[in-house]
């Protein structure tokens, strides 16, 4: 009896699955034929308007504050153009590089590419070249942030890659180190928590710390380890440091806020919060709150301004698609550059705690080059 019902259920299930597969197949067929038509009409002189413009972010995940703020900046920018929100698309890859490339590939196969602008935060260096090539072939427009291999540059064969924008970690790493030392009275011992060791920003930030250490003879670095940008790992690592150097640690330098916040929890558990200053980079909301309150010893962080990044990345591509900006005639310094970062301490934290307003960013989105700091030449 029971066996019968199981078989029946199985049959029904198989039937349903087959039906589902048929529908999926039909959709797939419809999906592949439609873009072919689009393609045909997408001549170079295609007019881009609300019906065919696509402004797209390819970023990691909304499960971290940085990319969540990034995406809200992009939405703010799209709104400021007077476009409806359906013109904005968000591709999330959850840290999977192969998925990131596949998503961009799918995007470029399904619409009017000449009216598509993509803003990319590549998961790793190797993704950058692949995406730049895909975009170049399709005729879409792209802005790429943070990661690329040395030697890969937009003006070397990529007329549709508008700009590469990075943030010089040496500056941020140096600035927070100086603030940390100041809070320690320029003497004592620190421990350093590094990011992923093969990441360029991690290496640059650490180089900034080393420069500051060289300038400040009173401060000594007792130890340095990586916590891979991870909060929990930083928590465990800081506990280990506290056990290894009991009573000797006077400050904690972390390569990002996430790890600094993990270190802070370890200090809290040891009753040292507020006595041992902590610094990080990225300006995540909790760090800003701690700097603002000022009672746990969080001294400084650095903002690359994710809200601006979201809008600026799309803005460059949008202007190129509308013909207002011709990438190939831009000077190299506008095709690859380090953009401005902002040191945030108790003095100026107030202005960063309130949610960003699109109106305040309008000028910096319209002309992203306003935030130029130095060129990237390799």
């Amino acid at each position: 009896m029971r066996a019968m019902t199981v078989t029946q259920r199985m049959r029904r299930f198989v039937g349903a699955a087959a039906g589902f597969a048929l529908v999926a197949l039909a959709l797939a067929v419809a999906g592949t034929s439609a873009p072919a038509k689009h393609r045909a009409t997408a001549s170079p002189a295609a007019k881009c308007n609300a019906s065919n413009i696509r402004l797209v972010d390819s970023i990691r995940s909304l499960s971290n504050p940085y990319h969540a703020v990034w995406s809200s900046g992009s939405k703010g920018y799209v709104k400021s153009l007077g476009l409806p929100s359906k013109n904005y698309q968000l591709l999330l890859n959850e840290g999977d590089s192969a998925k990131q490339v596949a998503q961009v590939r799918t995007l470029l196969a399904t619409g009017n590419d000449a009216c598509t602008a993509i803003s990319v935060d590549p998961n790793e260096n190797s993704v950058t070249e692949t995406i730049a090539k895909l975009v170049q072939k399709s005729g879409a427009w792209v802005t790429i942030y943070w990661n690329k291999n040395p030697g890969l540059l937009p003006w070397k064969g990529y007329s549709h890659w508008v700009s590469f924008i990075g943030f010089d970690g040496r500056i941020g790493g140096y600035q927070i180190a100086k603030e940390l030392f100041k809070a320690m009275g320029n003497k004592g011992n620190i421990v350093a928590i590094q990011g992923l060791l093969d990441n360029v920003p991690a290496q640059q930030r650490f180089a900034g710390l080393k420069k500051a250490l060289a300038e400040t003879p009173g401060v000594k670095m007792l130890d340095q380890q990586t916590a891979n940008w991870d909060r929990t790992q930083a928590l465990t690592l800081t506990k280990t440091f506290l056990a290894k150097y009991p009573g000797k640690i006077n400050g904690v330098w972390a390569a990002n806020d996430n790890m600094a916040l993990g270190a802070l929890q370890a200090l809290k558990a040891a009753g040292l919060a507020g006595k041992v200053p902590v610094v990080g980079i990225d300006a995540v909301p909790e760090a800003l709150q701690d700097i603002h309150t000022g009672d746990v010893g969080y001294v400084a962080t650095v903002a690359s301004d994710a809200y601006w990044q979201g809008g600026a990345g799309l803005s460059l591509g949008y202007q190129a698609m509308m013909g207002k900006l011709k990438p190939n005639s831009l000077p190299h310094s506008k095709r690859a550059f380090y953009a401005k970062t902002i040191l945030i301490t108790k003095q100026n934290v107030g202005t960063f705690i309130a949610p960003a307003k699109p109106a305040a960013y309008k000028a910096d989105w319209a002309n992203p080059f306003k935030r130029f700091v130095s060129p990237i030449t390799r």
Binding site: S63, T226, T232, L235, K239, A243, Q265, E286
Partner: protein, 336 residues
């Protein structure tokens, strides 16, 4: 329910004791642990200070709880990959159910049983998918991993909810006699699970099913029921681990569980539980968790360059597994 299973399970106890292989394996991982402690202490005497022992116990605690849940599943010959998903969802759910900066819901410490129930539900889903829908545990729990991360991300909404409930945070920040409260909770969990493993049908049948599922079924054991129960238990343990990690971190972070899948399975295997099922146990897994914590801690204390650490760590783990299995290598069945 417990009393009933307890009574029924007590009978074949003496027979169980005669299985000396169990003991041998426990000793293997213990030998590895002692060797590690001795070598690290030789390299840096401050390894064996009280403060550092506290720090190691604390680092091993949450891994041990996850490993306890994982142990029963692996004893079945199955695997539970949903660790990071259950932990992600539980972390965010916990932070949203206690006093926080996001919403007005405030269940106080009652959030803990609520989230444990959530973890148990995820476990039931894994068990039902495995036994009723006949999806291999590997695939079923992989799906739940993604579901957990997905639900967690939706609830998370862009920034981690910051916990404002002091008595909840005190669980993660507090100490008794130098050891963190979390260390004691982990020890309690291990003892409770050891009791389950040894004196109840729940634990005993895990060995039977893992040893030979067909035989278990033929001899009238309701295999599906016990499998679902075991997945429910593992889901609950992952949720507990996540609650404790959340009280330590002070925020509900989707990435709370990151790394625990790998470290829990490593702890179970280093401890000496066979991935093919049927042999091992929770005490070994606790020793496995301690071995992992000792290695990570020892690396920092000895001052091995961060660039070389991961490689060295992998090497030490392989040696530890070899040591663990050495006394029983003749008894081991086919190694796949």
């Amino acid at each position: 329910m417990l009393g009933q299973t307890l009574g029924a399970a007590l009978a074949p106890r003496s027979q169980w004791r005669s299985s000396a292989g169990e003991f041998v394996r426990t000793r293997g991982s213990l030998v590895a642990l002692i060797l590690l402690v001795v070598s690290f202490t030789a390299a840096n005497p401050s390894f064996l200070t009280i403060a550092n022992i506290h720090s190691i116990a604390d680092a091993a605690a949450i891994v041990a709880i996850v490993a306890v849940g994982q142990t029963f599943v692996i004893l079945l010959g199955a695997i539970d990959l949903s660790v990071e998903g259950v932990m992600a969802l539980s972390a965010v759910a916990t932070s949203l159910l206690v006093a926080n900066d996001r919403n007005g819901v405030n269940l106080g410490l009652f959030a803990i049983p609520a989230v444990l129930a959530l973890g148990a539900t995820m476990g039931v889903a894994a068990g039902v998918a495995n036994t009723r829908m006949r999806i291999p545990s590997f695939m079923a729990t992989l799906g739940l991993w993604a579901i957990g991360i997905g639900l967690g991300t939706v609830l998370f909404g862009g920034r981690p909810p910051v916990i404002e409930q002091q008595n909840f945070l005190n669980i993660g920040l507090g100490h008794w006699l130098g050891f963190t409260k979390i260390s004691y909770i982990a020890l309690g969990v291990v003892l409770f699970a050891w009791f389950l493993q040894r004196y109840t049908r729940f634990g005993r049948y895990a060995y039977v099913i893992g040893g030979a599922e067909d035989v278990a079924r033929l001899s009238g054991i309701n295999v599906a029921k016990y499998k679902v129960l075991i997945f429910t238990f593992s889901g609950t343990m992952f949720a507990l681990a996540s609650i404790l990690a959340t009280s330590e971190l002070g925020v509900g972070d989707v990435r709370t569980g990151t790394g625990y899948l790998f470290s829990s399975i490593t702890a179970v295997v280093v401890g000496g539980t066979l991935l093919s099922g049927g042999r091992g146990g929770v005490v070994q897994s606790m020793i496995g968790a301690l071995i992992i914590a000792v290695i990570a801690n020892g690396m920092v204390l000895v001052g091995i360059s961060p660039l070389a650490q991961q490689g060295v760590q992998g090497g030490i783990i392989l040696i530890a597994v070899a040591l663990t299995g050495w006394p029983a290598r003749r008894r081991l069945r086919v190694i796949k």
